[in-house]
């Protein structure tokens, strides 16, 4: 094959590779794209055939030129070697140009579909729970259909969003931008996201190791640590793993209605967070994660403008034998929370607060508080007061914890036990205890069944509850670092 023809072939191959590599990079997922690629391949095969034919023609022409000239009385002008080479090169260029003219429209047509290749990775999680309580009775709760989207924004950031539809609402749980190329081991996150407070408050409901969020996280954090704001994370550059986080948010807690998320506020009315987390590898199989978090709000309007401190310590011990990590293991996780704020003596006497508490607790699988004498800590700022007398506020300290132990007996079976303890923030009633053995069956990495029994010991309510949870993942699923 001549040099020019080789160039033409190379050009076509490069075009083919170029066209082929794009979908490979983004993982062709749709049948349409596959069909298009097949069509492209067919066209390229046709082009190759054409090149082959053209090459044969070139070879034929070259052979004629090289053939000894026929005897002639008139001496034909003979071309120099340079002229012959120039002719050959010109011919090859013409052929290449001709082929490119034919290929270009097909490539352009294919390119029109490539913008869709920049669509984000999409995943959907369906989480449904059936429950029955001896006093609260039962129902099937469509707890959430959670749509997750994630993609790189540009070379400097990535973005993700978790949009959740539940029984009675549709909510953007998270929608955040995360930097990817800042120097000095820094990451900045902005938008709506789960603040880096503790461990399980950053987990979505379906990612929890048990059916319901621990009571202490519901009462003190307000469920998931959802926050609108900005967060800076720093990985300390040393062998020992240590990360430091600083956050600045409107408020913290998805179900925390004590602070309005939509109004402007003074700097003193934001919530500020600091967290340090480290990790100790005891040996190949045993390790400990340790973290400390502090959320500080200088001025909480509803609490008579007093400051609020929420401090947490989290400890997770893991036994994960390296050679058996997919089917043996043990996790012991504990979080201890301390809440300090000014609360009205006797709690907030509002009907709206009661309604909010009922709705919240039902959503989270905690029995209704309407039979209780105390109010919910999640009182609304604009709630109508039934008692016109001015409230008397007092500094209140409350402590709560959860601790759980989960074993991995096989690839499928994970039994565990959760213990909950939480003091009432208003100190109107005594503490709540809950004991929850549970059993998780992983049918595959993307489908899980869970059975849980909870014995709830709450002032005024002693309840036996049964839960059956069925959770599946469709589409894209990423093993995130925060979910570990």
């Amino acid at each position: 094959m001549g040099r020019g023809a080789r160039r033409a072939t190379t050009a076509i191959i490069l075009l083919a590779l170029g066209a082929g590599s794009l979908p490979r990079g983004v993982r062709a997922q749709s049948d349409d794209l596959r069909r298009e690629l097949e069509a492209m391949r067919k066209q390229l095969r046709e082009m190759q055939e054409q090149i082959k034919k053209q090459q044969e023609l070139i070879d034929k022409l070259s052979a004629q030129q090289k053939a000894p000239p026929a005897p002639s009385t008139a001496q034909a002008p003979t071309k120099t070697a340079e002229e012959k080479a120039a002719d050959e090169e010109r011919l090859r260029r013409e052929i290449t140009a001709s082929i490119m003219r034919r290929v270009q429209p097909q490539l352009a047509a294919a390119n029109k579909t490539f913008p869709s290749q920049f669509n984000p990775a999409i995943g959907l999680i369906i989480d449904t729970v059936g429950s029955y309580g001896s006093k609260t009775r039962g129902d099937f709760q469509f707890r959430a259909a959670e749509l997750g989207l994630s993609a790189s924004v540009d070379p400097f950031a990535r973005g993700y969003a978790i949009i959740t539809g539940s029984q009675d609402s549709f909510d953007v749980e998270e929608a955040a931008i995360v930097t990817t190329s800042l120097p000095y081991n820094l990451t900045v996150k902005g938008g709506r996201f789960f603040a880096d407070f503790g461990r399980l408050s950053k987990f979505h409901d379906h990612d929890l190791p048990f059916v319901n969020r621990p009571i202490v996280l519901d009462r003190y954090v307000g469920g998931e640590s959802q926050s609108d704001g900005v967060e800076v994370n720093y990985l300390v550059p040393m062998k020992q793993y240590l990360t430091l986080t600083g956050g600045w948010y409107n408020k913290m807690g998805a179900d925390n209605d004590r602070v309005d998320n939509t109004v402007s506020r003074d700097l003193s009315q934001f919530t500020y967070l600091g967290r340090a987390a480290t990790f100790f590898s005891l040996n190949d199989a045993n390790s400990v994660d340790l973290g400390g978090s502090w959320a500080y709000t200088p001025e909480v309007k509803i609490d008579n403008g007093a400051m609020r401190n929420l401090v947490g310590v989290d400890l997770t011990y893991r036994y994960s034998p390296l050679a058996q990590a997919s089917y043996r293991g043990l996790v012991w996780g504990t979080e201890l929370l301390y809440n300090q704020e000014d609360r009205p003596v006797g709690g907030f006497p509002t009907t709206a607060a009661m309604a909010a508490a009922t709705s919240l607790e039902r959503g989270l699988g905690v029995p209704s508080m309407t039979t209780q004498t105390r109010s919910s800590p999640f009182a609304l700022t604009d709630a109508p007061l039934t008692d016109p007398k001015p409230l008397v506020f007092k500094r209140r300290d409350a402590t709560g914890l959860y601790t759980y132990l989960e074993a991995r007996l096989s690839q499928r079976y994970y039994p565990g036990f959760l213990f909950d303890y939480a003091q009432d923030i208003d100190h109107v009633v005594g503490p709540t205890y809950a004991y929850s053995p549970y059993f998780t069956v992983w049918l595959s990495e993307f489908q899980r069944l869970r059975l849980q029994y909870t014995r709830l010991e709450q002032p005024g309510l002693h309840e036996n509850e049964f839960f059956l949870q069925w959770t599946v993942v469709l589409g894209s699923h990423v093993h995130g670092f925060r979910d570990r």
């Binding site: 993982r27 720093y234 550059p237 430091l244 595959s444 990495e445 093993h479």
Partner: protein
Amino acid sequence: MKRFVIATLMLTLLAPGVPAPADSKIKVVTTIPDLADMARHIGGDLVDVSSIATGVEDIHAVPMKPSFASLLNRADVLLLLGLEAEHAFLPALIEASKNPKIMRDAPGYVDCSTAVDVLDVPTRIDRALGDQHPMGNPHYNLDPVSMKQAASAIADGLGRNFPEHQEVFKKNLDAYVADLDQHIARWEKEAAPLKGKKIVSYHPDLIYFAERFGMEPFGTIEIRAGVPPTPSHIVELEESMRKNKVDIVVRELHYPAGLAETVAQATGAKLVELPAMVGGVPQAKDYISFVDYNLQTMLKAVQGS
């Protein structure tokens, strides 16, 4: 408010006060010890190589330890198998490492599968077919010829990041490949008795090995890749194995022992236990001894039957 500002300042000031020790060597982190062994041969004295996995793990279930994020934070080059083999831990660790040098598509992110002739590329992507690897089966480290191709990707990757040492990497690669070629020729001769032998493995991770040495992969104990077996699947598999006279059941050492043993006993097949990476057994100290160990173990089973 004052307290918060003080705390933030303290944290900020404290952090840079404990820098990691400086070292002039190129820091290479690999996902598996097989790549680490090759990187040591190709990089020679210029590189300081660490591996995330020790070799005894299931590559799809390596525990995601935060200490690996610190290790990756200091890496100049990351060498990985690719083809989503490390999907369970690597993407999250890379993100946590905050190291732009080894982010996906950065020059320091060296996916060795790009040089390998990939097998078992699915024609349909569907979770009903198990935990698929859309770009093909990633367990090519069990085949020495594929790993020879990976070695060239390592040399290219190191050279791309450190062009001033390109000649050294090339020279070391040539020497290593020459040595490996001699072993490959020997292994191919020794493997003659394996030709046509049918094997069932726990996970579809022996197809490159089987292809290289003329064996026939028959099925897996897992119902689909990554999906644990069900009793009915085992019954069907055993029936089918008996009918088709399957010779060998392979238990990769990171999978449970009991079931593979039961299947082998029920079907009259020979049970073979193999490591899936360098370091998976004490005898597999480096890549050549790893292939030696796997081949000799398989041969012993076949010749003993």
